[in-house]
Symmetry: C2
Subunit: 281 residues, 2 copies
Amino acid sequence: MVVSVAHLGPPGTYAEAAALAYVNWLNQRGQQGLLCPCPSIAQTLRAAAQGQADVAVVPVENSVEGSVTTTLDTLWQLDKLQIQQAHVLPISHALLSRAETLEEIKTVYSHPQALAQCQGWLERFLPSVQLVPMNATTEALKYLGEDKTAAAIASSRAAQLYHLPILVCPINDYPDNYTRFWVLSLQPSGGGSHTSLAFSVPANVPGALVKPLEVFASRGINLSRIESRPTKRSLGDYLFFTDLEADAREASVQSALKELTAYTETLKIFGSYSIVSIGKL
Amino acid sequence: MVVSVAHLGPPGTYAEAAALAYVNWLNQRGQQGLLCPCPSIAQTLRAAAQGQADVAVVPVENSVEGSVTTTLDTLWQLDKLQIQQAHVLPISHALLSRAETLEEIKTVYSHPQALAQCQGWLERFLPSVQLVPMNATTEALKYLGEDKTAAAIASSRAAQLYHLPILVCPINDYPDNYTRFWVLSLQPSGGGSHTSLAFSVPANVPGALVKPLEVFASRGINLSRIESRPTKRSLGDYLFFTDLEADAREASVQSALKELTAYTETLKIFGSYSIVSIGKL
């Protein structure tokens, strides 16, 4: 059976690199994978939720820029997908251009997250260029053509794929730059070291968030992350996305999740899974 | 004395509308304000931190899209500015175009936040157009020219300023769409109903975040918001931005803040201030 893997395209994006890492993981287990590039993260997730693809590989969080909010918001809405595994990918941004020197460059194209992650480098070495945001790092590459005044920020792999020279690499401000991706599908999750969930709290009163957190702290369960997102109902009304360092099948987590329902309005559990790291950490 | 007010430009952005609201507030108190448009949110904040402008007006949070992470990250880095007041601005997105019907439109330009806030409307009424992100909602307007296949998402005020027809308004997916702005300066904050602070926690152990939250909950102090941001040191290492519904000069808050230092690594207090609402809420 060939596993179809939806990801944000086109080829050369970091999401494609994460999808390829998952396909390698499948290959090592004697399975085949087929990459299915999608035009947006929301459409990537919907492809898996509606059965057009077997799994979706989407970015969740970057170590410099933080959460990928589209992923969290779409996951809460879809309400069906379960996390099968997490992949952590080192991010190394390259400056791609046909220019021979930095002085020739007038415009730099990239995804807003990539532009933000290289902000310091750009202010130092290209202080007067125009920064132009794109929907994907690779979308910028079409603007390069033969124009020597244009540059793009993308991966080294994108440079190879699109036959473009790398002028400088890496240019990210923080060398420890990693993005965490989730592999999601309609299948129940297989269990593992981490559990992800999200909840809304019934009322905005003192301690509304303390109670849910105490449920885990009192059992010695570590929360590796908490992220608030607006419910979109009104300003100041939030959902909380949380990652636990524990498997939902453990007795202590089972009892915590049971108690948690008393302090939450809506509770959604996205499954338990393991983290597969790629490259150095 | 004329108060210089830095904001994200050019004229016609929502940030300019918030800056204008602050200037009106000044006028009612017999003071004059001068708008100083800046090319980015980070540069807006730096202008005030370096004394090139008296105050900076920046967006903090939108009720649909969540935190404006550049504002939080820059504020943590600058470490000097104090919040003087908060303004809540209703956001109403209009589709600006010289097209006579929706069928003529092939491209829609806007800021990624505005595109995201109209995503449902765009998928329903303009499912096959190309969405092009811009650095500011108003930056898109130059692409409209006489091109009847182009449209932009911006405010009604931008339509007036740039003499562009409004094709549809409002087109935001959630009618309750508000953005909260902060007015910041080097002056000590004047006090008020809300206090904002940010902290990092010493170690990633069970309950590391529960302790700081309990400090406030045990005193009946409500947290109206908590937002995590990466420290940018490594994946899984966070800062927490928190808003309290209390004045830092109250005795209970003073004692809470004192106790808080025991559970935090770095603690930064951005001041106490009042919320000035603009329009309906």
